[in-house]
Amino acid sequence: MAVRSRPDGAGRSRSWRWTALTGVALLLLVTIHMVAHHFVVEEIGGLRTYRQVLDYIATPVIFVIEGVFLAVVTVHAMLGLRSVLLDLGMSERRRRLLDRALVALGIVTVVYGFVLIGVLASRA
């Protein structure tokens, strides 16, 4: 058996740890997100108007927090999906294909999200 300097992710040992770590981070980030979006504005449902959304997302600290939230939730979601799909039982080749597909989906999601909030922030 070859000794490798770093596990290449073929095992799930790292993914479980990162799922747990991102999950713990999300306990805080989701709370912040939900409070900020639904418990601050005194409108029905706590929802902001168009102008309020733009002003909110243009605030640098908010932009960073929401960006981090997006990245963390996407990583957690991709790892969770991976976990569910792996439980269906698959060969090493299919597992590698799945990993590549989820990495691609995750990147597209985060990039799209950042572009979205970037465009909105620029309109404020």
Partner: protein
């Protein structure tokens, strides 16, 4: 026909013979009293109704692990499970996630194939360190203790991950690995940890704890899998990132 104790109970029995297109269910009315076990009921059917009924049993007292079945969907050892503890008709099926050989008998080979290479069929413990003549009963000089696990397969049957992933090594094999870490006695600890640190081994468990619920021998396989993970994390901290890894990244039995 379905009253408890001293009357008759209706069993819905899983029947399958090699060559059948698919299994079918048979109804049998079996005389029963408060102390009639599922195994006794099955043997009654075999003796009085259908001698072709396939069932597997040995010790009659929950120590051999041979007679595992599902009773109304839950895993039990037939020899110590009372009909009286179940209301209404009683469905008896083979344990799950293993190939059916005959009626309620499953092929246990895939169960044993999941264990690590260093798994002997029977393993005796060394005499317990604290055991001495004062602890022993009259006429017994020393204790020998065997594993709690009787390799009945009920845990694998109960596991929702084993239900969909044939590569998942499952509770019995993983719990056994953790026991080897507790009492190595010449076992290569690092090889066991390598074996466990894979996608279809210790990290495949999703903490449903059905294995612990099903276990008739207090092995507590789910807790042992979590303890195995704790050992894996300790090893990572101890060794950094240098972890010997099988080439395809999955644990092979």
């Amino acid at each position: 026909m379905t009253t408890k104790g001293g009357s008759t109970r209706r069993l819905l029995l899983h029947r399958y013979r090699r060559g059948d297109a698919e299994p079918h269910i048979e109804e049998h009315d079996v005389p029963a009293d408060e102390g009639t076990t599922v195994l006794a009921a099955l043997r009654w059917i075999q003796l009085h109704r259908d001698p072709s009924l396939g069932l597997r049993h040995s010790c009659f007292h929950a120590s051999c692990g041979t007679c595992g079945v599902r009773v109304n969907g839950r895993e039990h050892l037939a020899c110590v499970t009372m009909l009286a503890d179940h209301e209404g008709t009683i469905a008896v099926d083979p344990i799950a996630n293993l190939p059916v050989s005959h009626d309620v008998v499953v092929d246990m080979q895939p169960f044993f194939a999941r264990f690590p290479d260093q798994h002997p069929i029977v393993r005796a413990s060394e005499p317990l360190p604290h055991a001495d003549a004062t602890d022993a009963a009259d006429g017994i000089d020393e204790h020998e203790r065997f594993e709690d696990c009787i390799e009945c397969g009920l845990c694998l049957s109960a596991c929702p991950i084993a239900a969909t992933d044939a590569t998942y090594l499952g509770p019995a094999a993983l719990a056994y690995a953790q026991r080897l870490l507790e009492e190595p006695r010449g076992t290569d600890r690092e090889a066991i940890l390598d074996w466990a640190d894979q996608v279809n081994a210790a990290w495949g468990c999703h903490a449903a704890f059905e294995c612990t619920e099903a276990c008739p021998s207090d092995v507590r396989p789910a807790q042992r899998i979590m303890a195995l993970r704790r050992e894996l994390r300790r090893r990572r901290r101890r060794q950094g990132r240098e972890v010997p890894e099988p080439e395809n990244g999955t644990a092979r039995p």
